[in-house]
């Protein structure tokens, strides 16, 4: 296969152990490796780039085993924080750099330096020095330079984390667009869940050297399988509960929580796995979670209950914090409850601190996490 394949990779450096890690990145796919600082993200990236020898395991790049190859024999486009442009050379000289080390000098490169500059819309910068460029221009030069290397894989090591918020937002979208146009495989390391969400087709979650969870970006945000993932990905509402009984129809369950008994509708399991009734047995201890943007405040203007009276509770508004396009509302429903609502809708509906209002927790938005331990358990407390 093409792209990247990581098999049973383990890396050991003094005081830290990474792995074993198994990963695949297909051409045209971006895998975001997300985790807190100290999780081993950069170590993983440097091992793939060839700057760190693994203790065990294999790395395949474009189907070729490169485990023993030095960095200059691996075709990777390595893009780091602040972009590592050569400051003593012009933009064009930077972009030409890889050409001098091509083993197959006969064949014309897939991207000439000039084509790479044009592809990224920065022909006009050719004679500038990196020090005179803006953050966005540097990112484009770094991408152009990597393109001329004809990489089989792009590696990104938090390229945006040194930028301030407005620049980061703009470059994040631009990078996404460029990666889509290129259709190359990429591994993108970040500690920022929003960056992982914007840039990753799939997300792999790394914690203290271990690959905790991996999945399609929508799935891993909506249905994390561990408490660690749920917390790290911003599922603000998480309560311990116990499965009471199937709720009658189909896959619906009733779960007892600190704020009462709620109906939960787990999504269809994937083919080949057990049906919901069998997985979630009555009496089982679980954690129930709901993302704040899925919580519906029924007093909110324009909101009407979807299925009447189901999972409806009363709560009091404790604090409303503006958050840009939405407001984060902290409520007291016996237990703390966090909801995100469109900016200003709450005050338009006449609700403020101290208001009591009905809240709906849609059965389909409630998510179950088993309490059988795993990576999540350690952070529970």
């Amino acid at each position: 296969m093409s792209g990247l394949e990581v098999r049973g990779l383990a890396v050991e450096v003094p005081g830290f152990r990474l792995g074993p890690v198994d990963l695949r990145v297909q051409p045209g796919e971006v895998l975001a490796v997300l985790g807190p600082s100290g999780a081993g993200k950069t170590l993983l990236l440097r091992t793939v780039a060839g700057f760190q020898a693994p203790a065990r395991g294999r790395l395949l790049l474009g189907g070729r085993d490169v485990t023993a190859e030095p960095p200059e024999r691996r075709r990777v486009g390595y893009v780091v924080q602040e972009y590592a442009l050569f400051p003593h050379r012009t933009v064009l000289e930077n972009v030409r750099f890889p050409l001098r080390y091509r083993p197959e000098r006969g064949r014309p490169p897939r991207f000439t330096p000039e084509e790479a500059l044009r592809f990224l819309g920065i022909e006009a910068l050719a004679d500038r020095r990196p020090a005179t460029l803006s953050g966005g221009e540097r990112q484009r030069v770094a991408l152009a330079r990597a393109l001329v290397r004809e990489p089989e894989l792009f590696l990104f090591d938090e390229p945006l984390s040194a930028l301030d918020a407005p620049a980061r937002e703009a470059l994040r979208e631009e990078l996404r667009a460029v990666l889509e146009r290129l259709g190359v495989a990429a591994l993108y390391v970040t500690h920022d869940r929003l960056e992982a969400l914007v840039l990753g087709d799939r997300i792999a979650l790394l914690d203290r050297g271990r690959l905790v969870e991996e999945g399609e970006r929508g799935a891993i945000f909506a249905r994390p399988r561990t408490l660690f993932a749920a917390r790290f990905l911003g599922m603000e509402n998480l309560w311990p509960g116990r499965v009471e009984a199937p709720a009658g129809e189909g896959r619906r369950l009733r779960v007892r929580l600190p704020l009462g008994v709620l109906t939960v509708a787990p999504p269809d399991e994937r083919p080949g796995t057990a049906a919901a009734e069998e997985v979630w047995r009555p009496g089982m201890r679980v954690t129930v979670g709901i993302r704040p943007e899925k919580v519906r405040l029924l007093g909110e203007a324009g909101e009407s209950p979807a299925s009447p009276a189901e999972n409806r509770i009363w709560a009091r508004v404790e604090r409303v914090t503006p958050w840009g396009a939405f407001d984060r509302v902290r409520l007291d429903a016996g237990v703390p409850l966090v909801a995100d609502v469109a900016a200003g809708r709450l005050s338009e509906a006449g609700l403020r601190r101290g208001s009591r209002l009905p809240v709906e927790l849609p059965a389909g938005a409630l998510h179950l996490i088993p309490d059988d331990g795993g990576e999540g358990e350690r952070t529970d407390g």
Partner: protein, 262 residues
Amino acid sequence: MERKSPLFLLFWLLGGLLLLFIALPLLELVLGQQPARLLAVAGMADVRAAVALSLEAAAATALLGAFLGTPLGYLLARRSFPGKRWVEALVDLPLAVPHTVAGIALLFTFGRSGPVGRLAAAAGIQFWGTFLGIVVAMLFVSIPYMVNAARQAVAAVDPQLEMAARSLGAGPGAAFLEVTLPLAWRGIASGVVLTYARAIAEFGAVIVLAYYPETAPVKIYELFLSGGLADSSAAALLLLLVTLGSFVLLRALIGRRAGPQP
């Protein structure tokens, strides 16, 4: 808004005193000269030869030091290896060796009966009382400056730039030559200037290993012993002017303050 507190008034006072302590002797050396005597001494063939010898030997030392010291500075900046702390201590050691002790230790090794001296003698090379001996003495006392300057210059180059070069296809040697060296060269060049200045200043180690041919500091000492302060101070001023002149010229060439930053 920065008020003068009593403590900082004391600081300015002590600092000024120290600057005066440095400047006054040099000013005295300049102002205490009779121009006629200075010209006479500058015309003496042996003084001129001694100054020229000092400049040549210091320049040779600085170049040799750069050639031998830059690689070690690179390794200390970029690699970790067992015993690295001992290597760093060894590099700094010549700074703590009294100058005449260094001269005697070098004589033990490079002298006629020393291990290197005997080997070299078989090849027709002699250190005791030769230009080569002067360079050896100068190199020994100045090498810490060169190695540490190179180490700092390399350490100041972001290692990610080397990694970027490697990932773009350059081997380790090419990454050094294309990226690290061009970015570190100013720092390395300051180290060369520093090494040059330290080499030209040396007296104790040189006088033991090679009293003859006389370098300028030795010649000045000889004049001091024989002719007294008048001739020797004229020669001293001459050497000072030549040394500072070449020092300033080199600093201007590399385009920045090349002073030591211990």
